[in-house]
């Protein structure tokens, strides 16, 4: 079912990137990795992955900003974006909220801490 589709995983936590990548690779996906929004944008232009798993809080360019840029670009707006969001309703040090994740142009979201099996279900649903 996966047919070696490429998925880009973006998070400033390298252990989380690796955990997600290992899970995806076990399901026969190819994985590209990036550790902040700027690096991710370069990877998107290079490889145009059909789906991106994208953390929100990252240095240089956060996930919301990147998602907005992806969806505003004619060349990349069809890329499926799955946001990794904090479970808390509000984080006082930022303006990002769980509900903001639902109102952005992201295609789906999964709360942290990540349930990898649930993430795979979300990935499969969105790629169908």
């Amino acid at each position: 079912m996966s047919e070696e589709k490429l998925i880009l995983v973006v998070d400033d936590d390298p252990d989380l990137v690796e955990s997600v990548a290992m899970k995806l690779e076990s399901k026969n996906f190819r994985v590209a990795k990036a550790y902040d929004g700027v690096e991710a944008w370069e990877k998107i232009k290079e490889e145009k992955p059909p789906l991106i798993i994208l953390d929100v809080m990252m240095p240089r360019k956060n996930g919301y900003e990147l998602c907005k840029e992806i969806k505003a670009d004619e060349n990349y707006k069809d890329i499926i974006v799955i946001l990794l969001t904090a479970v808390a309703d509000a984080v006082t040090s930022t303006t990002y909220t769980h509900f903001d994740g639902k109102t952005t142009e992201a295609d789906d979201y999964i709360p942290k801490p990540i349930d990898l099996d649930k993430l795979m279900d979300i990935v499969d649903e969105n790629l169908e």
Binding site: D12, P14, D15, V17, E18, S19, M22, K33, Y35, D36, V38, E39, E42, M57, P59, R60, S93
Partner: protein, 176 residues
């Protein structure tokens, strides 16, 4: 599998991370004392002090435990150290430390070997080392961060426009 060694002999990695200035806490016990490692961590938890790194090793008849805490916690850690005057616990407190992490390590021992060799040549003191699923983390002096990066960078290939070595964001948790 992506080829990780470039034609120039460099090993490709995803990034390097440097921490802020940290405090290294060290404690040693005799195995014969059948010690619990909990007292030091119970005190840190009592003071709501987060730790970013933890290691415990046994060398001969001694167990050595070390952990890292934020530099801002120095005064509070000193207070905790002296809080229980009846305790035989002695915690060595070493300020001015930091971590250098590189990732992903791909389980490559040759990467580890090159880094340790480079640190040795550059006289970088190592106070600890650990690995996670993705990262190799070395505990070094904060004032040697630049020297350490310079020592290893010639052996590594980083992505174009890689994430900065030091995060631009810094959060200090407020306690209620």
């Amino acid at each position: 599998m992506t080829e990780q060694v470039q034609e120039n002999g460099k090993i490709r990695i995803g990034g390097i991370k440097l921490s802020r200035e940290l405090i290294l806490l060290k404690q040693s016990f005799s195995v014969a004392d059948n010690p619990s490692i909990f007292p030091i961590y119970a005190r840190l938890a009592q003071g709501k002090i987060n730790i970013t790194y933890l290691s415990a090793i046994q060398k001969g008849k001694l167990i050595h435990i070390s952990c890292l805490a934020a530099n801002e916690e120095f005064n509070q850690i000193q207070c905790l150290q002296h809080a229980d005057s009846n305790s035989d616990d002695h915690i060595e407190i070493l300020p001015g430390k930091s971590t250098l992490s590189l990732f992903p390590h791909q389980g490559r021992f040759d990467l580890l070997g090159r880094i340790l060799g480079a640190f040795g040549e550059a006289h970088i003191k190592l106070y600890g080392f650990s690995s996670s699923i993705s990262a190799l983390t070395f505990v070094i002096d904060y004032n040697q961060q630049e020297t350490a990066v310079s020592a290893i960078i010639e052996y590594l290939e980083l992505p174009h426009n890689h994430t900065p070595f030091q995060s631009a964001l810094s959060f200090v948790e407020k306690r209620s």
